[in-house]
Symmetry: C2
Subunit: 335 residues, 2 copies
């Protein structure tokens, strides 16, 4: 891929060909879940479940199972559960952001209002956690519950620390590890537990997911600055407007000249939206993006290290390929 191409953004197709048949089973099972709900609630759940997503978390669960030697029904089920949790968080995110479309179709919030959407997200959430009990394994239920809680906590902290100049990079990493890393890590880590892996292997696969999710969020945060709305297919520059201090912005605050930094911090302290022309005009802007890309690339390197020695040939390769794919997307963020 050439550096001159614009970032494609969120419509990128991850290399999940190897597990396409199992992902079809995930789709079918997600559609089946609507039957667990009261008939009067079914249409709402069905609408949300039919909204296509990339199904990254299910793919990771299945690939991790394969990487340990065998894809089991449990890996498919775990994928369904984590995707339901993810969908619940999206329904709620759309309320919080006042989003009217997602993946080209109206959000639940736009169709039925915030009230019903709050409840719909809750119903999906509780259903996912009830579904987790089908594993008959209390440890798995606990891990799913804790990962779900971490996602919410990460988002709470992010909301709380908007326009907050005391936010450190350590705070930023903690936030994105929780809000995005936790469910990726649950996908690969719990998949290892399902495969009966030893503790060390489970820890490695957990960290693969955690680092991959974190790198993915850094990519998303860079894309919000450098992406083209047309190519990405969603509203960008929202982080700036909402005062979210992401890694490229924190890098910029670190390395810009005194006068430029004071201009930036003044806007942040006054809770004024940052605007892109101001940022781009700062000499260190490109370096700040580059440095964020470097950080994410280092994480992807750690992901690959964790794969060494796993038995599942082509599945291990696929997990490596995912890190390369995300790495290539990240490279496109450099100017």
């Amino acid at each position: 891929m050439s550096n001159s191409t614009l970032p494609q953004g969120r419509n990128e197709r991850f290399p999940f060909e190897l597990v396409r048949p199992q992902l079809e089973r995930v789709e079918a099972s997600i559609r089946d879940q609507v039957r667990a709900f009261d008939p009067a609630v079914e249409p709402y759940v069905s609408y949300v479940c039919n909204t296509s997503g990339k199904r990254i978390r299910p793919a990771l669960s299945i690939l991790a199972g394969g990487a340990l030697g065998n894809v089991e029904d449990g890996h498919v089920k775990l994928g369904v559960i984590l995707e339901l949790v993810h969908m619940a968080t999206l329904v709620h995110d759309d309320i919080i952001d006042g989003a009217v479309t997602r993946r080209m179709v109206p959000t639940a919030n736009a169709k039925w209002g915030a009230g019903l959407s709050v409840l719909l997200g809750d119903a999906l959430f509780s259903h996912a956690l009830a579904l987790a009990t089908e594993f008959n394994d209390i440890g798995i239920c606990r891990k799913v519950g804790i990962a779900s809680r971490e996602v919410c906590e990460g988002e709470i902290i992010q909301t709380q620390r908007r326009f907050d100049l005391t936010l450190t990079k350590a705070d930023y990493f903690r936030i994105i590890e929780m809000k995005t890393g936790a469910l990726f890590a649950a996908a690969t880590g719990i998949a290892a537990a399902i495969s009966g892996a030893d503790e060390a292997t489970e820890a490695k696969l957990y960290d693969y997911g955690l680092k991959l999710g974190t790198a993915y969020q850094i990519y998303d945060d860079c894309l919000d600055l450098v992406g083209s709305e047309e190519a990405v297919g969603k509203t960008l520059r929202t982080d700036l407007e909402k005062g979210k201090l992401t890694l490229p912005i924190l890098n910029l605050l670190d390395c810009s000249s005194e006068s430029q930094r004071s201009k930036l911090t003044k806007r942040i302290v006054e809770q004024q939206p940052l605007d892109l022309p101001v940022l781009v005009g700062i000499a260190e802007y490109e370096g700040a993006i580059e440095s964020a890309v470097d950080t994410a690339q280092a994480m992807l390197g750690t992901c690959r290290d964790h794969l060494v020695g796993l038995p599942g040939g082509e599945y291990v390769e696929a997990l490596e390929q995912i890190t390369r794919f995300l790495g290539a997307l990240l490279e496109k963020c450099r100017r």
Copy 2:
């Protein structure tokens, strides 16, 4: 209690004296839960957890344990879990209703806005379900998850069927069994499972909770019409404004004269708020309330039937006393 007294409303004190020490443990444990959260999230959780509630669900769990012969730590823990689920739903209800105060203090919604409150409810929800895994009993986790889902589903159906004249009494009962009955039933039913009760006993105690919760909701629905705002301490007539067709309204539609019914249905079809003077002017208004009270009283009778033969002396008496207490509150709704 005299029938001439106005309904006291939501500040009524349920007769929980017998289990006061265990309820203190519930309070302490709820306060302890904040430590499970990230330090940055603690203050929000702590604020919501310190808002005093009646703790009906924990009391029912503990009393049901006692009624079966022994209050165990598990009954206290179950009470904590169900109260956390209940608190999560209240945080979300306050967003949906735009409520600014609850029990005389600002709601999370009023203090921090809808966005943070959605996430805070989610975090409480997922924490409650993670806490349920401490039972090391997959059956209990599943029951907690399903009860939580039912609460959300009941509220979704209620939201969906506002101003809907095709709503039958069967629909109404299904809605309130889900939105209020499910967590009461979980309190007494799961408590029986913790005590190792046989299936028939568990089913009886489950139904005790279900009927008690349903009767409690009918009381709440009558109170919304006949209560005094001053005595009740919260905004009333909201069901009318929101087009919620509660049992007394459904009774009124059933038994009012043709011309009165058509006046009522016209307002409902046009989604105009029903207003109280119109209702009170209908000859059958008092009868409609009386009939709803009768229905709830019959449920409380069934609750008492379920208690026959349980071993736990004073705890069984306390469970009976609760039905009498609620019965007396209901009687005050008659004119």
